[in-house]
Symmetry: C2
Subunit: 118 residues, 2 copies
């Protein structure tokens, strides 16, 4: 058998390439997207915004009151949530009503809760 180049005492170059070829590990760009997406669930204000929006649409001022935060702080977070398409909004007069973008969001929240509760 031919000599194999060792990377660590256990992993051989062939194995490493095999693992990478299997393609179950997203490439750099996709990992970046994925982590940016999950980052949205990793801040208490954002997680609470998403949780509150499960019950229907709310405007920025409502969210600020519910979170006990300033409208500015909430708006900054909503901007991030918009950037990864987790929320959508519609204008009604002076106000912007925000809502969850789709059902995925709730599923994900529930899965997270399931994990930490068990």
């Amino acid at each position: 058998m031919e000599k194999m180049e060792r990377i660590t005492p256990y992993l051989f170059l062939e194995e490493k390439e095999a693992i990478e070829r299997q393609g179950r590990v997203p490439d750099e760009g996709e990992i970046r997207h994925l982590t940016d997406f999950f980052k949205m669930f990793s801040d208490p204000h954002r997680a609470r915004i998403l949780s509150f929006l499960r019950q229907g649409e709310l405007c920025v001022g409502d969210l600020a009151a519910l979170l006990d935060a300033t409208p500015s702080a909430v708006s900054h977070q909503l901007k991030l949530l918009r950037s990864v398409h987790l929320v959508r909004y519609r204008r009604e007069g002076k106000m912007l009503f925000y809502a969850l973008a789709d059902g995925h969001v709730e599923e994900l929240l529930d899965q997270g809760l399931e994990h930490i509760r068990e």
Copy 2:
């Protein structure tokens, strides 16, 4: 009709309390756990570690080689992943082999990927 105390032009105190009573928004402690949990998926190194572990257990040195990172950096991240029970490990000689803690992890990764791909 009785006068209601307004919080914002739209949300009334009764509504706010109703929303909070519905209990679909986790309390402070649970939100903290939840965000700490999701935070684990929000760093590229950690996300790649979890992705690589889908294909079977790997030791720290292997992961370091696959990630092109130092064993120290990997170990620090593994410590965080252990802290929220996303990975488990077993010792074999000098090495520690890490594995995903349960199926939840893969489900979550897939849901995240599903969201960003659509």
